[in-house]
Symmetry: D2
């Protein structure tokens, strides 16, 4: 499966329903936050969560992320890899190994 398959399926889903009118970058960013909180809700009272529910909510966060990327004309894989390159520099292995400390306090 390639990203294009997913992107095209999402575009068709949105197009058939004429929903692009609601999908401003701002509304999609709000939607990412809303779905992220539903994912977090799986862990509200315990670190044990129902895997099916987590998968379901994660899918919703990813869906809005992909819709936003497409709206912005960005390739999801590329922006993740570009950011990773910068994060590698902020967290050099020799400093960050085995530590969850934020880069500005390393």
């Amino acid at each position: 499966m390639t990203n294009e398959t997913v992107r095209d399926a999402l575009r068709a889903f949105v197009g058939e329903r004429d929903w692009a009118q609601f999908h401003s970058p701002e509304n999609l960013a709000k939607s990412v936050s809303i779905e992220a909180a539903e994912l977090l809700e799986c862990f509200q009272w315990s670190s044990d969560a129902d895997p099916d529910r987590v998968r379901d909510e994660l899918a919703d966060v990813l869906t809005y992320c992909l819709l936003l990327a497409d709206r912005l004309g960005e390739d999801p894989d590329s922006i993740v890899l570009e950011k990773l390159a910068r994060t590698r520099e902020k967290y050099p292995v020799e400093k960050a190994h085995g530590r969850s400390t934020k880069y500005d306090q390393l």
Copy 2:
């Protein structure tokens, strides 16, 4: 580019830093919410946002989503497509066309 490329790059990044110990599903879910709010912050006072900043924050949300998917043994594309199939049923074209109403009020 395929998803495996991104997944392997993320695994190498985490492995080199010995960070898997911090990446419980719960911590990753918190991280998705935290980064989603940074994405939302691009739009805090205006629907106009700096595209570079949005891309950067979106990359962070996606990164934690991919780390969580990998931790759960799920393929990101597959769970998005599976969820989309269910969402199609909840929002039939003839009912949902041009409307942002939630499915339980359609």
Copy 3:
């Protein structure tokens, strides 16, 4: 200290800076989510958090909540008590005692 003191201090702060123009209910709701995530960030990798930082971030969430309440013409204490009355009914003591289960699954 009474709520009026806090409300008046917040109104003066906003008024002096001419910031009411930015404080639409929607922008304040986004701000509550953004600050809530900064509070959550205190606990991102551990359930142990720096108490000073938690207090600081909690103050920010509360501040935007109070600004939103004032914008809506609502008294914060009253809406909390009204909601509590309804929550009491959804979670009767005999059913909810010692359980974190959501009301629709009790």
Copy 4:
């Protein structure tokens, strides 16, 4: 009405249900984020929101904020006013007037 009334009502509600065991600072911080997103959901597709629903969701965010403050032994009004004093310094009237710019870019 004073804050003590609300605090005591919340304490009684929690005590009767034996829920303090679930109310670690971390769980309450997660709950604040989760409820903040439900507040945001009122504005997901439009800046117009149903006032009753907004009031209801705002009450939930406030409730978890007050539970967290009580758990930390903090007085909500005091921490808001203390933070406000510091925010006044970060945003001097002459610099911040009529601008939504973040303090580090003023």
